[in-house]
């Protein structure tokens, strides 16, 4: 058994062999915004999810026009193969990939294992920031088929279709919002969306080298919790970053045709007046 769409995954060896390939752009996207400056894969460009991928005012992603500017400045053309990698088992690499797909970039891949594996293999990190000739990138209209808004979640609930909560067990149970020292805690209620099953995102990756688990293991993990390919699945976490990993796994590694990431996630649902919650 192999992954459903293995072309969405490359290994570190492939990346090392394509560092000079003009048709390939390596993009680092991290949870920690300083990691790229400390050292990155030679020739890789940086996309900071927090300062760059978000809308400056509204709670939303950057606009299509801003996305075109960003991607053009990174020297990415519409037919460039974009390979994402990052820290923390590719959390934010998956998030950036999801957003690139949201604006219609088709040729995207994740470097399996991310920074962790590249570092374990003692491959080079450099501090020099590369610059590439600007392109005239044209994005497509946002692809809402991969993004769930709160109304989609209500419809999902009404239709009794599956929801996957990918947060840690304590966030799922609602215990975590009661922890001390969260002066600006993002949600006023703890718990999870009713009927959502708990499958923490990290169960999809091998702790040792941050690579994805085997197709057999992944299938057993999700099908074992009754998350199956025949139907719509919505994944969520706190702000939609960890659930991007789950979205990637379900859509490209297992080949589920209809998977959405609910980026509003718990920081929206746990603050939403009149929304049902289970503990």
């Amino acid at each position: 058994m192999s992954y459903a769409h293995p072309e969405y995954l490359v290994d570190t060896e492939w990346v090392a062999a394509h560092l000079q390939d003009a048709n390939v752009r390596i993009v680092e996207s991290d949870e920690d915004p300083l990691l790229y400056a400390i050292g990155h894969i030679p020739g890789a460009v940086h996309v900071d999810w927090f300062s760059v991928l978000q809308h400056p005012l509204r709670r939303d992603f950057l606009t299509k026009e801003k996305f075109e500017e960003l991607v053009s400045a990174l020297g990415i053309a519409n037919d460039t193969t974009v390979v994402f990698y990052g820290d923390k088992s590719n959390w934010f690499a998956a998030y950036a990939l999801w957003l690139f797909q949201y604006y219609g970039h088709q040729n995207v891949k994740i470097m399996n294992g991310g920074r962790t594996k590249w570092e374990q293999e003692k491959r080079p990190f450099v501090k020099e920031t590369p610059s590439y000739a600007k392109t005239a990138y044209r994005a497509k209209e946002a692809d809402k088929s991969i993004r769930a808004f709160r109304d989609d979640v209500f419809k999902q609930l009404d239709a009794k279709k599956p929801l996957v909560d990918v947060r840690s067990p304590k966030e799922y149970s609602g215990e975590l919002t009661h922890m001390a020292n969260y002066p600006q805690e993002g949600s006023t209620r703890g718990g999870h969306i009713p009927t959502a099953v708990s499958i923490p995102w990290s169960q999809a990756v091998n702790e040792a080298d941050a690579t994805f688990k085997s197709p057999e293991e992944l299938r057993a993990l999700y099908e074992g919790k009754n998350i199956k390919a025949d139907g719509e699945v919505i994944a969520y976490c706190r702000i939609g970053e960890r659930s991007s990993v789950t979205w990637f796994v379900l859509k490209y590694l297992l080949g589920y045709p209809n998977v959405k990431n609910y980026d509003g996630s718990w920081t929206e649902w746990g603050n939403l007046v009149d929304a049902p919650i289970e503990k």
Binding site: E31, D32, P33, L34, L35, A37, I38, F50, S51, D87, K88, R115, T116, E119, M179, A180, N181, Y182, P183, Q184, E185, G186
Partner: protein, 143 residues
């Protein structure tokens, strides 16, 4: 009680910086955070850990010969932002009296306007580090 002088100076300096300068300063603080001394490496299970951070952070404190508190931190190099933020606290609080340390308010970081440089989660981790430094200082004070 006013903030410890060193911490106040760091806050004032960072408050006046552009976003780019703030990021560069955080990197410099991250890169100059001292390694955990050998003598503490076997005691990691007795150190304060900071569960608010998604990064493993360990803190230990002891009293110096002047009665002030000295902190020692262990934070992996893969987390430069947490290292940078914690290093600011280390530089700002090392050698201070216990009473000064526990009096630092949880919102001390507001004037630095760090949210233009790092996400709210990182800042939440920052306040987590402070409160665990206070607890480590309390243990050192009682020892």
């Amino acid at each position: 009680m006013p903030l410890p002088q060193n911490l106040q100076e760091i806050i004032d300096m960072i408050a006046s910086m552009s976003r780019e300068e703030k990021l560069e300063t955080l990197i410099a603080y991250a890169e100059t955070l001292p390694d955990l001394p050998e003598r503490f490496k076997t005691q990691r299970d007795q150190m304060e850990s900071v569960p608010e951070c998604m990064t493993p952070v360990f803190i230990i404190a002891e009293k110096d010969e002047h009665g002030g508190i000295q902190f020692y931190l262990d934070i992996p190099p893969q987390s430069p932002t947490v290292r940078g933020l914690a290093s600011i606290l280390l530089n700002g609080l090392n050698g201070c009296a216990f009473e000064e340390i526990v009096s630092v308010p949880i919102d001390f970081y507001h004037p630095m306007n760090l949210q233009e440089a790092v996400s709210q989660q990182r800042i939440t981790g920052f306040t987590g580090v402070l409160s665990h430094m206070k607890q480590a200082a309390a243990k050192a004070q009682q020892a």
